[in-house]
Symmetry: C2
Subunit: 200 residues, 2 copies
């Protein structure tokens, strides 16, 4: 099929879920390779042999395409954690957060860079990338309240997610490396559990 | 005096401390206005009526000039805090950190942006901007150990600075605003003091 015929076919057809996955994967690859600023509609089109017009028609702008790719292809790392105890859940969150950082440091870096540099992207990134993780951590704490492990009015409850995300992010400032599993586990045991009055 | 004569004069003379202060202030102004990427040797030269050659001879590169300006003109906000108790010191740190953020949000933003985008600047920024603050917070905790307020082997000790800096930074991610004084004070009371086994 000629390029022209292929473009025409793409224009007529709806984008299949498989094709969408392929497009989103290409966006995330480009993000990892060179950060947000090097992602272009042209680059995504070239890598996926997709018509640029299709990309623009479907997603409107680069910011919307990147946000959609991050939202759809990202797993919420703190979702589904449920070991039965608060200490177990927070230690599991520490483990998966550190392992995710190690596995996908380039993507984390690209997202942090886009967040700082592009104020227009912030609301979308907060909603698609940050809020689901915060909600999952808050669900862990809410279950502990229901089980009677912590008091509903413990003032540390509102700081579990900010502290957790903060230590994950700030380790990079101190030592040019992301927080590792043993650091995050020690943080849970030394700070979060005592503040929540839970002895693990 | 012609431009040529002025340049020659500048080349001959040493830069006075007053002149240096003026140059550093101009660099920080430019950083606040448009972030690291908009600071140029040309821009600093134009604003201060200083010869570009003088800037290059004295500081070598833009990165070195910016780092020097940040290091010299910045006060370490946590330095000199000494209220006599750990609770008092950490609450004072919360107050000054929040007030500094409010006063100089643009500069904080510019520094965060430069840190993320320019790996070559990171070591210098860590040494000049971050390490002195961390050292000042660690001194607060060390004095509390000396006074017998906290056990020397309390495992939370190593997390005071990362948590403090982390919550300061991460609030921005959650709500598009910097951490305010009452949030930081609540964080000290709800998280740090209980983790350090101090009842404020």
């Amino acid at each position: 099929m000629s390029t022209q015929a292929a473009t025409a076919a793409a224009r007529r057809s709806k984008i299949t879920p498989e094709r969408e996955t392929e497009l989103y994967d290409a966006v995330l690859c480009l993000l990892r390779e060179g950060g947000y600023d090097t992602v272009t509609m042209e680059g995504v089109a070239a890598r996926t042999k997709c018509g640029k017009a299709t990309l623009y028609r479907q997603w409107g702008t680069k910011a919307q395409l990147v946000t959609a790719a991050l939202a759809r292809r990202r797993c919420v790392v703190f979702a589904g954690i449920d070991t039965g105890t608060l200490a177990g859940d927070l230690r599991e969150a520490a483990r998966v957060a550190a392992s995710r950082r190690e596995r996908d440091a380039e993507l984390m870096e690209a997202v942090a860079q886009a967040y700082i540099q592009h104020p227009d992207l912030r609301a979308a990134l907060r909603e698609t990338v940050i809020a689901p993780e915060v909600a999952a951590l808050e669900a862990v704490v809410a279950r502990a309240v229901e089980r009677g492990e912590i008091d509903a009015d413990n003032p540390a409850i509102g700081f579990v997610a900010p502290c957790f995300m903060g230590v994950l992010r700030v380790e990079r400032l101190f030592e040019e490396r992301f927080a590792d599993a043993s650091t995050m586990r020690a943080f849970v045991d030394a700070v979060l559990l005592p503040a929540l009055r839970v002895e693990g």
